[in-house]
Symmetry: C2
Subunit: 236 residues, 2 copies
DNA sequence: GTCTATAGCCGGATAGAC
DNA sequence: GTCTATCCGGCTATAGAC
């Protein structure tokens, strides 16, 4: 049996038909000349399947969600799902790979590439912002590693490690330039990522603090963790 | 289907009979005069059921573990499990309640109760140590909240909040005494707990760093996060 | 206290009609 | 591209023998 926990702002029931997050984003889902006007088709239903799976996996966990539930959320029969994914495992793997590709690519296009302190500040803010924008994908990426088949697990680990190399490299550069106090680069990078990612467990839009404030406070703590402060002399 | 991820130091197969963690701890499980010498009985089997459930829930997740698997791990039939728990949900709830009662009680008996900086240092070290000693219970407590029934979820949340009040109170005292730089007490406490708890995702006994070193490095970073340093003048 | 057997349901995935 | 029907197996929990 599955109970719905309060997560985020909504309380939709899964019974009956409802619009997917794609439509709720406010933009039409008409995806070019091939889209047909008569309800679902391949170009639209595929993304809606992945969106529904992401929502449900994040809320209830991969093992607790059935293909029938995903199909019901999309508004199709369970059998039709298999036109969009080979099986349930592949659906999970594709969600995680896409998420990690996204986050790695997004950082590359934002990396200021200069002073280590600036980069740590930028990385902290980027990580917070990116994660608050994709709470479901983040939740899955961190909680469902154990639900991956061994092969898929290995492939995801490669991506995860390549993202973790980002803060490691920043901290190493900062330590070598004696701008930061880092006793162990990998340990500190792990601690940093855990702290930043933890924001997804409590932050809610419309709550006491807004995103800009949260971002700034976390960035300050990130710098403090390694004995650095923005626009100030180092303190050791 | 369930795949076994590498977690911790062991690689036991679940097929066939094996000794439970209770026996592996090195101490006999003969629990006083009521224990009978002929294999499992109530005094021994109950704890072994909980230990097996804890192991399996932590590795594969509550939803992915069947009562049959738990029973097999203990070495009894599935039906016999119901002499030790009302149902699977109650088994999960009891594990989480016991864990949280433990951690709260353990801190109370260790709290140095003095200077906020000493207390933050002590809390950080305590949290790391306690969590590294109970990786399975910790994993379940943080990952399986969504598997609790609404009633049980509410009861666990009460306990969880009472533990989170510990660092909140420390940081508040430190900020009021102007020994720490804390822009927002709850935000900082959440960030601190997330950072510290994250140690369980990567630390392994026998790895590159030992527990004492890890404990010390995390405690340093915890103090740095709020602009404090042990045995040094404050830096602002 | 544990066993075997089973009720009743739900799971993933497939086949073939339309 | 979606539907309905179905295979086959696993699930929780219970019943009753020993």
């Amino acid at each position: 049996m599955i109970w719905t926990l309060k997560r985020g702002t909504e309380g939709n029931k899964t019974a009956g038909w409802r619009w997917s997050p794609l439509e709720l984003n406010g933009c039409s889902v008409y995806l070019g000349p091939m889209a047909r006007p008569s309800g679902s088709d391949g170009d639209v239903t595929g993304p809606r399947v992945r969106a529904a799976a992401e929502r449900l996996f994040a809320r209830h966990g991969y093992a607790a969600v059935s293909m029938r539930q995903i199909a019901a959320e999309v508004g199709i029969g369970a059998g039709a799902l298999y036109h969009y994914t080979r099986d349930k495992q592949t659906l999970l793997f594709d969600l995680m790979r896409t998420h990690l590709d996204d986050v790695i690519g997004a950082w590359d296009s934002v990396d200021p590439q200069g002073d280590p302190i600036d980069r740590l500040d930028a990385f902290s803010r980027f990580h917070i912002r990116h994660h608050l924008d994709r709470p479901d994908a983040v939740f899955i990426a961190y909680m469902e590693l154990r639900s991956l088949s061994p092969d898929n697990f290995a492939r995801i680990e490669v991506l995860r490690r390549s993202y973790e190399a980002v803060p490691q490299q920043i901290l190493r550069a900062g330590a070598e330039a004696q701008l930061m106090h880092v006793s162990d680069v990998k340990l500190a990078a792990n601690a940093l990522i855990a702290m930043l990612t933890g924001v997804t467990t409590w932050y809610r839009d419309g709550g006491r603090l807004d995103r800009a404030t949260v971002e700034a406070r976390y960035a300050d703590m990130a710098l403090g963790m390694v004995g650095a402060q923005k626009s100030l002399q180092k303190t050791f």
